[in-house]
Each structure stands twice: as structure tokens, then as C-alpha cells.
Subunit: 210 residues, 2 copies
Amino acid sequence: MKINIILYDSVTALDAVGPYEVLGRLPGAEVHFVAERAGPVRTDTGHQLLVAAASLAEAPAADLVLVPGGYRPPIEPGPVHDWLRAADATSTWTTSVCVGSLVLAAAGLLTGRRATSHWMTLDRLPSFGAVPVPDRVVVDGKYATAAGVSAGIDLALDLAGRIAGAEAAQTIQLGIEYDPAPPFAAGSPDKAPAPIVDFLREHRELVVGL
Amino acid sequence: MKINIILYDSVTALDAVGPYEVLGRLPGAEVHFVAERAGPVRTDTGHQLLVAAASLAEAPAADLVLVPGGYRPPIEPGPVHDWLRAADATSTWTTSVCVGSLVLAAAGLLTGRRATSHWMTLDRLPSFGAVPVPDRVVVDGKYATAAGVSAGIDLALDLAGRIAGAEAAQTIQLGIEYDPAPPFAAGSPDKAPAPIVDFLREHRELVVGL
């Protein structure tokens, strides 16, 4: 299973690293981090934290392509969209985390497809032709999308089960001790205190840049 | 709030990136990734994925120090232990994820303290003088330790609440949409199917390297 995770300027690190930590432990997994240019990539908090091992031009063909979210993700036509369309033509799975679904949709890959996104950007999916579904993980054919940031871990475990079976996925889950116990119940707009939901809605530009 | 996250050869990426994604969003947070040598650091899966911005010698003083886990973490005496003892002398919080607690304990910082670790390495804590507690997050004074890999996210949200208050922590939680929904209930040895628990116990060397 060859996996390409695309990085770009202002990517959200956990969107990429959560799925990598799960999918990279599949038997025979081969993960490549790719970007327009190989080398260090700046995250949304301004850190030169992640490294792309290969440029898009050098990226090997992959069975699974994943687009993480970030601040101001590449939703304009350009090399990332061209590359994604070519990668999608031969992929078994085309996937995203957070606003990565807007990138896939803007590249024309989710037209008429059910998809999710960060709760603050679900309403942007229809403008790119996708059908928004407010679930944590949405699978429509070979297109699998996750909600915001941390949802990439749940997406990856779901995919691990589909790709290698429940036992393999559960072995990975136990290996990374993914038995989440958040100290607060504020992880979705349905559960968080209303003033916090309102604050983030009013500052959407600051959080996702669009 | 100045935060130093220490990286080392064969670190587990999610152990570092989960807490960074939470703590880095605290108001006024300043995160530094540091390592014996500045530059790319190899993760436990062999990827040159993460970058240390500064060497231990260059690392600024920090209020919070975090030691992520990894494959064969630095439990032998050496520069990492020396640095941790000096950092701990002025820190407000000294923290770890996964087998990072073994590193803190081996450096002499958890003697007589309650601490947690990856479920497979809890039994190693007493040999370094710490008192093992099989909880996801354990706080004893200024020492806060998390269980395996993904538990670093829960640790960081707990710390965010203590440092900046529940509202700030909940705002971060909603921003990263941390409303976990694992597709399997296999994240702890109490919940996972017994054959999977046994398999990992028998292959502990492969998973944590000690």
C-alpha cells in the first residue's frame, strides 16, 4: 500500500501526522510526504516543522492519496489540483482531513459526492459541487473525508479496517493507545458551550483563513 | 508560555505533534522543537519528517518541557538527561507522552512520583524510581505524564485548562474538532480483543524497542 500525503504552506500538522501514524503502521505501508517543492514545509502556526521528502513531480504513484487541512488551503486552480487529478485517476482511495475536502472538491474530484469538512467549512462544500454531510468520517465510493484536524485519526482507522481488516486496524489502535478521554466535552458545535461556538464562528477567517 | 518539545532519533511523530497542536494554540504560546542537533529528525517509522529548530544548547528557557515517546527512547545517561535536569530546574511543567516518562524517570525527575506510560511499559517505571499509575493522564505536582502516543492530545488539553482556563482549552478543542469517534473499541488492553493484546505483549520489543 503506497500512500502519498501532500503538504503545503500553512498545513495543519496534526491533519497529516494523525493519519500517517495509523496508515504508516499498516503491513507493507510505504508513506511519502510530498509537496510542490521537496524540503521543509511551514505549518499553520508558522513552524518549519514537517518535511516533504519529494516534490509533486517526483512523487511515486500511490494507492492512497491524502490531503490534510491547513490555513488557506490550495483551493485555487494550480499545480496541486493538476497533481491531485492525476493521482486520483489511478488511486484506490482519495482522501482528506478538515478543509482538505475543499481542495479535493475545488479540483473537481467530489462533484456530486457526499463529503465532510471542518464544522466551520461544511457550508463551503456545495459551492465546489460536493454534498455536505456533518459526520466525522464520510465515505462515498473511493472518496473518504474527515471532519476537522483530529478526525484524521478516526478516518485513518476506518480506512485501515477497510484496507487490511478489523484485526489489523485494532492492532494499530492498541499500539498507539487510542482510547481517547478528552477532559472536556467541547469537540463539536453540538457539545461545546454556545459562546465558544459563536466566538469561533465569528473568527472563522482567523481559524481556517476562508 | 514558552514550550520546548524535545525530539530525538526514532521519536514517534504523533507524541510530539498532538500536544504541539493543542499547546501551540494557547494565547501567547511559543513552541520550540529542540534536539541534540538542529535539523531534520528521523521518526520511529524511518521518515525524516520532523525538524528541530534549535539544538539543546541553543534552546531557550521554557515554562513547559515535553518529552514525546519513541522507539528506543534515550533512557541512558547522556546529554538529553543533562538538558532535562537543567530544564526541569526552572520549568513550571515537566511533561511526557508514552515512553517519554521513562526518559524523565531515568533522568531522575520522577523519583517517588506517580506517573503513567504506554500500557506496555508501565511496568518499567518502578525500575527508574517512579510509581506507575495506569491512567491516561497523571499529574503529580508539576509532573504531567500521558499514556501511549495519542494520549498526548488528552494530556495537552488537560494542561491547557490548568494553564489558561477551561474556556481557552475548550476553544482549542472545538477548533481542532476533537470529538473522537474511533471506529473500533480497541484502544486499551482492557477493551481490545485478548489475542491482539497478547500479540503486542509478545512483540513489545518491536513496538517500543525496550
